[in-house]
Symmetry: C2
């Protein structure tokens, strides 16, 4: 990126005026807005008076059913690209399923593994960057070394991935958000997915953590197809390398949705054997509530269009204002996602932290610079994640305009 | 127990008649009956149309709130004997909280610990017997050795507990169901609780897993008081040794309730720091649903009286029929619990497995003999757990009468 000259006096004056406005705005996290949550308020009175039987007659109020309700698993099988029989419906969070997958692998030998991960001398995960801070934090906590892999506009740089997984058996996993990736918005290309399915790994117990968090979260009618990793890997004899995760958190209610885990039969047997010691079953009442509310795959699709109507204009506003404020400055590039929850803004090297600091002092909270990288360290100090869904449109516009002021000042003072 | 003589021909004839009846009854697990679940059907339409704000204004539909809703924590603070500020409300299961406490201790150093449990050469838990099979299975899975401790009618034999925890730093924990214990129905005496609070442990990171599953589950008006372990331990400078667990599973809906975890501030900081990497918060909508339904501590008490009206007669039937069938036989003793979910039946040594087998062949499913002991092994082969809550009263009566036939036959054939 070429850094155009910025008049430092103008930049300072603009910033002083911004601070004087005393804003208090927050575009830090990928949270749905109240208007989005309202779309699922039907859940607040479901499953309804006297309704507590699943389609197979199970009393959802009682214990049992480790795999979750078949009717709900069926609704999401298509979107998550996992046969319903291999897709489990669980608690209110997919993050906890990813965490527990790592924990179970640490403490109980995975199918194909020579030993428990806890007994390995070194553990590494590949981390496409920029990526999702909660993925990184989860693995870092267990002392798992994160090896950055550059993201391209097709997905992770597969030449790098293939080399690392082939040469080092300590590399046990990779974090992926394959559709509308967090934070770049990229959907992995067919070639990338196919290479994931067929690549040679040194570790017999390598796992792809396929966090398909935004499977149905389209912002436009242009819905990019994602190749079916589990099917391709199964075809290639590598079924066990795939762990699929998903949830309704950004479909219905963020804190009260249903998480999903999909995998091969061998992985599922391992999973169910382990969680059977942990729980007598998930909240099936909430699963029935969701099945009744969403009805079927078409119901999910119709529901997601209402989300797009609310948040689409916010994403358009981010792009419009960044274009107005920084478009011809040479100071920034940014993604124009057609789905998901984030815009990734790239500012001049060495200024991202300063931009976030300046914004904070002006009353605009941003995700910490570096959060998109392992250990919170973006070596170029250039990537800022924008999460425009939660605030109302006017606040998004104001926050992004303020952000542009901070980008200009940081660049000017660095020049 | 003296084993009176039983006429083997009579016993065989009775058993043949029983088999001929082709029963199909199940008194295996501590599950609430549909009639009990019906008591909480108000939950099926709660929190209600447009109701999604907690008392502090939190939108329960969105992410966040690792500690759970204060209004719900307050309702259960008294019953669980944990100050509301130190009591966390979580997901739908307390078993998973116990599991995760063990997992977190394995992988992240506990307050006071010298190292992670995973890095200890040997790990042991004390297991009061007879006890709860799911507790045992959870710890066995991680290779934790279970050391049996006899239960008395006052709680675990504290002379044994004190000796074991004082002399062996590999002993890291003990499983306790302190009120209406599973399966004996014993409530720990004040002396036992006080000794737990004050005893000297060789391990600096010893933890009492205080599973107060039946805190409010009275069957009669005689409600035994349980001393406040956390308060006593805190007073003795041992606050960190206490992990309290509880849940609404057998209060509202077994599969869709709320679990609780209570502990010292240091333990809570450790816990929240760990689960903060796992989840963005529990299902707060379900917590609000419960707070609205139960209202307050008096609401819980009133609700539990309705349970007692349903299951009290089932426990009375167990006692009445065992008395009628075996009372003067000298073949069996059994507990007469005033709360909780189980009756513990003791049959002549070496016959429990055979009784369960005979019952199964006659169409009456019982919890496997030995399940009340670590590794499923009751050395005396004498304890059978009866769970009378789930079947309707007539089926409980029939099942227990059938059980008595099997007890008589097993004893006669062994004689």
């Amino acid at each position: 990126m070429t850094t155009a000259s910025v008049d430092v006096d103008t930049a300072r004056r603009d910033y002083a005026a911004l601070v004087d406005r005393g804003l208090s705005l927050d575009i830090t996290r990928g949270k749905p807005s109240p208007a989005q949550l309202d779309l699922a308020n039907g859940l607040l009175t479901l499953p309804g008076d006297g309704t507590f039987k699943a389609e197979d007659g199970t009393d959802v109020r009682n214990y049992g059913g480790l795999k979750g309700l078949p009717e709900l698993r069926r609704i999401f099988a298509g979107a998550l690209q996992v046969p319903a029989g291999q897709l489990l419906a669980a608690g209110n969070s997919s993050l906890e399923l990813m965490h527990d997958a790592v924990v179970q692998a640490l403490l109980s030998k995975l199918p194909g593994a020579e030993r428990r991960w806890a007994d390995e001398p070194t553990l590494k995960f590949l981390a496409p960057v920029p990526g999702y801070d909660r993925h990184f934090a989860l693995t870092e906590r267990f002392g798992i070394e994160l090896v950055p892999v550059p993201m391209t506009d097709q997905g992770p740089d597969m030449a790098v991935v293939e080399r690392l997984v082939a040469e080092d058996s300590a590399v046990k996993g990779i974090w992926c958000v394959p559709k509308y990736s967090n934070p770049t918005g990229v959907t992995f290309s067919d070639d990338v997915v196919k290479r994931f399915a067929t690549m040679t790994t040194a570790a017999p117990d390598f796992r792809i953590f396929w966090d398909n968090a935004y499977a149905v979260h389209h912002l436009t009618d242009a819905e990019p197809a994602l190749a079916d990793l589990l099917a391709l890997a199964t075809e290639a004899g590598n079924a066990d390398r795939v762990f699929v995760f998903g949830s309704t958190s950004k479909i219905t209610h963020a804190g009260a949705g249903v998480g999903f885990f999909g995998a091969s039969e061998a992985n599922l047997a391992w999973w169910v054997g382990n969680i059977g010691k942990r729980t007598i079953g998930p909240d099936k009442v909430n699963q029935l509530r969701h099945a009744l509310f969403l009805e079927d795959e078409a119901g999910v699709r119709a529901h997601m269009r209402k989300h797009a109507e609310i948040i689409g204009p916010k994403f358009e506003a981010v792009d419009r204002i960044l274009t107005e404020e920084l478009g011809d400055s040479g100071l920034a590039t940014w993604t124009k996602p057609t789905g998901g929850y984030f815009v990734s803004l790239t500012v001049p090297e060495g200024t991202a932290k300063e931009v976030v600091r300046l914004a904070k002092e002006a009353g605009v909270a941003l995700t910490p610079a570096g959060a998109t990288h392992p250990h919170g360290d973006d070596p170029a100090d250039a990537v800022i994640r924008i999460a425009p869904t939660f605030p109302v449109l006017a606040d998004v516009e104001e926050a992004v305009r303020a952000l542009a002021v901070c980008v200009r000042l940081a660049a000017a003072e660095r020049a």
